[in-house]
Amino acid sequence: MGLTIKHLLGLRGVSEQDITLILDTADNFYEVLQREIKQVPTLKGITVVNLFYENSTRTRISFELAEKRLSASPLNFSTSTSSVSKGESLRDTMRNIEAMKIDMVVVRHGAAGVPAFLTRCTGATIINAGDGLHEHPTQALLDMMTIRQKLGRLTGLKVAIVGDILHSRVARSNAWGMATMGMKVVACGPPTLLPQHCAPLGVTVTDSMDKALDGADVVMMLRLQLERQGSGLFPSIREYRERYGLDLEKLSKLPKNVLVMHPGPINRGIELASNVADGDHSVILDQVTNGVAVRMAVIYLLGGGENA
């Protein structure tokens, strides 16, 4: 009854059964998080290394909390305070950490493919917490968990993902996972921020926000990566906001039970108006809560039994 995958490197190629098992398990961990004592002894004695080569607050804290809620021992590793700054290679770092008897590695790295590479240098279980422009699978899983929790199902729902699709690993993981779960995904953004050869499995691409929002059950706004301003990909922040920002006016044309999501951190007043981010349709904080439950489920399911 366990997962068929040994590592979570991405959602591409992960079966509907595996995704459903993770989401079902996460629903039950959600209940654990509502208890007065929000900790279970399940992973006592299991050490999980959080190997973060890129900045992150939400994802790192969420993983660390998930590990602690399961009674695993988290070991945090950030590049600024480690031998990486002395030039140690990724492979050597991994081998050294493994020599200290660890069970699982949660890795975030600026280069795509690092989690897959690590599976070849270690026997530990690898979980991808974001690699370059490739994938961020736990984010997509928590997004799907939130949608299922609020709307009761995934199959047949239309999701508009709006923003910088080109540079978004969140969009990629969601596109793969949601297509597997039978959802209709529309990716929308300025033509310069849309991938040239995308449309994996039935994902529709458009530069028209009206088209993307038409009939959408879920609107997922991506963060405009301000560090890319000046690279000529979009004319100005003001113009971007006018065309691709979500405000109350655009929201008013959508169905009453539409969900507004954002993976964070939000640029308030750019891709998302403040009164929308904090409004009735927003499930942004539910996403954060569910993130802990989904990560507990992934760690639990990958860590036990034969996999250990």
Binding site: G2, E31, V32, I37, G45, I46, Y300, G304, G305
Partner: protein, 182 residues
């Protein structure tokens, strides 16, 4: 697994639960300070039925809870097949109450051990009592049941299989043995 011997039919099962309900009442006089919790999966339905009988005897509505002990098991690292995490839902405060924990079969005692651990995360009941439909022996821990539907002598290669109307479309208990079904 093949069927070896019937242990209970629907009527015997119902009578056993009725007797357990009466025994629970003998020991617990104040059902307003009382809670009953069934263990996943089939203990849940047994607890619901006992709660209904207790409610009918005393003329009150008695809710029952659901407990899944998967996260408290002691074999996470070694289990060959990973058990799936199921729903836990205890819709009442367990602090200071008399509690009955209901399971279908008492065998090694490890599930009850896990349940006791789980309950301490929900509060501190005044008492925790244990009711089981079948006690088949072979304990690996110092655990015993307060209310027993039937004690059966079994061998360790045998199994006790309970079916309940709610999910199996029949009420029955069979002693099973390894080997092809007839």
């Amino acid at each position: 697994m093949k069927k070896l011997e019937p242990l209970m039919d629907a009527q015997a099962l119902d009578r056993a639960l009725t007797r357990i309900a009466h025994q629970i009442l003998e020991r617990n006089h104040d059902l307003h300070n009382f809670g009953i919790v069934g263990m996943q999966t089939r203990g849940v339905f047994l607890a619901q039925r006992i709660a209904k009988k207790l409610g009918a005897l005393e003329g009150i509505e008695l809710a029952s809870g659901v407990l899944d002990v998967t996260l408290y098991r002691d074999d996470y690292r070694t289990a060959f097949k990973q058990p799936s995490v199921k729903v836990t839902n205890i819709p009442f405060d367990i602090n200071g109450i008399d509690m009955v924990l209901v399971d279908d079969v008492l065998y090694t005692g490890r599930t009850v051990r896990a349940a006791l651990d789980a309950l301490t995360d929900f509060g501190r009941p005044k008492t925790i009592q244990c009711a089981v439909l079948i006690d088949r022996g072979h304990r690996e821990m110092p655990i015993t049941a307060d209310y027993v539907g039937m004690s059966v002598t079994t061998r360790s290669n045998q199994e006790v299989a309970l079916k309940v109307m709610e999910i199996d479309n029949e009420d029955s208990v069979w002693l099973m043995e390894q080997g092809p079904d007839k």
